[in-house]
């Protein structure tokens, strides 16, 4: 069956009216399946470490907890934790966009650092590698960090003890 063709004029008008809005429909889950247990996991690019470290330091610089960051960026708390803690985690572009907004960071660079777009700038890569290397703190833990650490260790020990008892 032959359908009428859209004229160029009509297409241009509809394109203007579309106004670069979202057209996202459907869901890839169920169609695409993750590769089954690859023999060798692909290496996580160093830029991904930089992304997590950048979000972490930006957040701490504002003295926000991860919960506060998640709330302000309107992203899931699990996602916020994964972004900071798991370099292999690749956030959805929406989350990156929200983070860019609340942390006043350039969205395009963040899309690259987060693994949502490919890197084409050697300068950005060099800067990201250097940042990832330098952002690993060597200073003493702050009181809040020490308290959080102690609390978590105490919970771990407690749970371990409970298991031994049961």
């Amino acid at each position: 069956m032959k359908m009428p063709e859209m004229t160029d004029e009509t297409f241009l008008r509809l394109a203007r009216e579309e106004d670069n809005c979202s057209i996202l429909a459907g869901n890839l889950q169920g169609i695409f399946q993750k590769k089954e247990s690859p023999a060798v996991e692909p290496a996580v690019p160093v830029t991904k470490f930089a992304f997590g470290a950048l979000i972490n330091l930006q957040r701490r610089n504002r003295q926000w907890t991860i919960e506060q960051l998640a709330e302000k960026a309107e992203i899931d708390l699990n996602e916020a934790v994964s972004i900071e803690e798991d370099p292999a985690y690749r956030p959805e572009p929406r989350a990156v966009f929200q983070l860019a907004k609340v942390l006043a960071l350039p969205i395009k660079k963040l899309l690259v650092l987060s693994g949502n777009a490919e890197l084409a700038s050697p300068r950005l890569e060099t800067a990201a590698v250097r940042f990832a290397a330098r952002s690993r703190a060597v200073e003493k833990l702050s009181e809040a960090e020490a308290a959080a650490l102690n609390e978590f260790v105490a919970a771990l020990v407690e749970e371990d003890d409970e298991r031994k008892v049961s």
């Binding site: 359908m3 009428p4 169609i31 399946q33 395009k108 084409a120």
Partner: protein, 149 residues
């Protein structure tokens, strides 16, 4: 975009194992600007106009983020990605003898776009609570002529 970034379509398109799906992409400036996947297995229509008639189910549509105002503001690269992909879906539907009838589940942020030229059949609890839209033969012809539904 100031740098020649590439939307990582590999993430979206790796490991495709089903032959009943067709992937259609729009390539400009050597890059994929939008991607769509349709199921060529006939799906029964739900709207009054499509009742007991086969429709082409659009399983997935997405535009590259640099073409979306929500991501890059006014600095978008190409427009009309959605319009072009819907045209392509209608064409595939016609090729498959579904007469231009198509259906999809829209994500909330895209509902306004699809509501203009497709029939809104409401939230579909069996479609991940996404809103389900259908386009009839007449609506697809109207769309191609540039009119709203």
């Amino acid at each position: 975009m100031p740098e020649h970034n590439h939307w990582n379509w590999d993430r979206k398109s790796y490991d495709l194992k089903f032959t009943a799906y067709r992937c259609i992409g729009i390539r400009c400036d050597g890059e994929i600007q939008g991607l769509m996947m349709v199921s060529t297995l006939a799906t029964e229509g739900r709207s009054a106009a499509n009742k007991r008639k086969p429709v082409l189910y659009v399983k997935y549509v997405e535009s590259a983020p640099w073409n979306l105002k929500a991501y890059v503001g006014e600095d978008t690269r190409f427009g009309g990605v959605g319009t072009a992909l819907i045209c392509a879906a209608i064409e595939v539907s016609a090729e498959e003898e579904f007469k231009g009838r198509i259906a999809l589940h829209s994500l909330p942020q895209s509902e306004q776009f699809y509501a203009r030229f497709m029939e809104d059949l409401g939230i579909d609890p069996e479609g991940e609570n996404l809103r389900y839209f259908e386009m009839s033969e007449e609506q697809s012809k109207t769309f191609l002529k540039g009119g709203d539904k």
